[in-house]
């Protein structure tokens, strides 16, 4: 879907990281969001309440649709630069899922 423009392959440093355990290649200077979009990911996460697919919308740190988990924290992938060997996971809310409220008796 996305293509790189005006890239001189000889002048950029390439690196790789993992997203959900799968290797993704990127160029130095890419944000995680850009690299994932470049790699063809169409769904970064699902919304926690309705389970709808989400991927980046604004690419400038405002919309929070591009959330991923890095180092155990949910972060905006459009605001994080790729690093070699970085481990990126899909967001998870396991600590909070499955808890059902009880009635006040």
């Amino acid at each position: 879907m996305f293509e790189r423009i005006n890239i001189n392959e000889n002048q950029v440093d390439k690196l790789s990281f993992t997203f959900g355990g799968k290797v993704v290649s990127a160029y130095q200077g890419d944000t995680v969001a850009a690299a994932l979009l470049g790699a063809g990911y169409k769904c970064f996460r699902e919304t926690p309440v309705l389970g709808l697919n989400r991927n980046p919308y604004c690419m400038m740190g405002s919309c929070y649709d591009c959330l991923v988990s890095i180092g155990g924290r949910n972060v905006q992938s459009c605001m994080v630069e790729c690093e070699q060997g970085m481990v990126v996971e899909r967001v998870s809310h396991t600590k909070l899922t499955g808890i059902r409220p009880h009635e006040v008796s």
């Binding site: 309440v49 924290r73 949910n74 809310h93 600590k95 909070l96 409220p101 006040v104």
Partner: protein, 364 residues
């Protein structure tokens, strides 16, 4: 009779909505985005818990409004197609300080004694609370629970009211600030910033903090003061909080909204790190699972307060047909404002006695 409503927030629009339902001719003058707009920054609670100490009529009025809310929300949805996300499953107040909790229970007890119609609160100690809300942290000493309290999406409410009022045939002027209100003969005139004039035989000043300047032009005291509250919203989480509290609630799309600070800062509506971090750390004390959760945004908004915290419903003695309406709890009271307060404005046979909410109580 044509009515000119100065103020396009929830209070003004609830009255506009009630009046259009009675086929009255209504014009709403809505200020600019730069105004303080309590209707856009509030917490969205529909709340009776803790309200009405020293004024049983306010407790009754609040309770009555909450009982009208389900049909009000349903009617708005039917008319406008907008779901205001009403939920009235009951409201909690969580405490991490035993003395604060005891004082609060004492005030709930007094309110209940003064208004036997009010809902019966429950006190839950830590162990009892843990059974209903398993996510509470060890610092929580207990909670009080009020059945029937709840919350709504306040922005959806504002949108639904605007749409409902428009569909009811009212005209809404947007970005129109009133700089002067005056009477000429049997008509009340509002002069806008651009010198355009609107007039009607009935005028309602419901301009929030703007009423401090406008209401005195019609002979009211117009004693409203700002009280700043700061609010935070987190990233979206799976639904786990069934019961909203005065400081923490989970909104429909999953975000955790945190608030409840009360600061006297005049007209300053900027949040500060100190208060934001106090609010966040209280929320983490109550729900430790929020510690790793990201905050998305914070903002501050100004409550519109009267000296005693109760509403003011006043018709001018010298300018009949001119009304000054203000309250802190425009969301909770939206339902009753659209019904009984509207009846009072038009002076119908169903008009309630609202004399205890007159400005004259501040005369002593």
């Amino acid at each position: 009779m044509k009515t000119l409503i100065i103020g396009g927030g929830v209070v003004g629009l609830s009255l506009a909505y009630g009046l259009t339902k009675r086929n009255e001719d209504v014009v709403v003058v809505c200020g600019s985005d730069e105004d303080y707009n309590a209707s856009r920054g509030n917490f969205g609670l529909i709340w009776s818990q803790g309200k009405g100490l020293g004024c049983p009529e306010y407790s009754q009025w609040t309770q009555k409004s909450i009982s009208l809310w389900p049909s009000f929300a349903e009617e708005l949805a039917k008319l406008t197609g907008i779901d205001v996300e009403l939920s009235l499953d009951g409201g909690m107040e969580y405490f991490t300080n035993k003395h604060e909790m005891e004082d609060f229970i004492e005030s709930l007890h007094k309110v209940k004694k003064s208004n036997s119609d009010s809902q019966t609160y429950k006190y839950l100690n830590h162990e009892q609370l843990k059974l209903c809300v398993p996510e509470i942290g060890p610092k929580v000493v207990g909670a009080t629970f009020m059945p029937g309290d709840g919350h709504v999406n306040p922005l959806q409410l504002l949108t639904a009211l605007r749409e409902g009022v428009r569909l009811g045939g009212a005209k809404i002027f947007n970005g129109a600030r009133v700089k002067r209100v005056y009477r000429s003969g049997d008509l009340y005139n509002a002069q806008l910033d651009d010198n355009k004039e609107l007039s009607a035989p009935r005028v309602i000043i419901a301009a929030g903090l703007g009423s401090a300047d406008l209401a005195p032009m019609m002979g009211f005291k117009g004693a409203v003061v700002p009280q700043q509250g700061q609010l935070l919203i987190s990233e979206k989480l799976p639904q786990f909080l069934k019961y909203p509290s005065g400081t923490i609630r989970q909104v429909n799309d999953g975000g955790i909204q945190i608030g409840g600070s009360t600061l006297d800062r005049g007209l300053d509506n900027k949040e500060c790190i100190k208060t934001v971090s106090e609010l966040a750390s209280h929320a983490v004390d109550v729900f430790p699972c929020l510690e790793e959760v990201n905050l998305l945004r914070s903002w501050a908004c100004l409550r519109v307060m009267t000296e005693d915290g109760f509403p003011i419903y006043q018709e001018s003695k010298t300018n009949p047909g001119a009304f000054f309406i203000t309250c802190h709890s425009g969301i909770t009271l939206a339902a009753i404002h659209s019904v009984l307060l509207t009846e009072w404005i038009v002076g119908s046979e169903r008009s309630p006695d609202l004399s205890m909410f007159s400005e004259e109580r501040f005369n002593v």
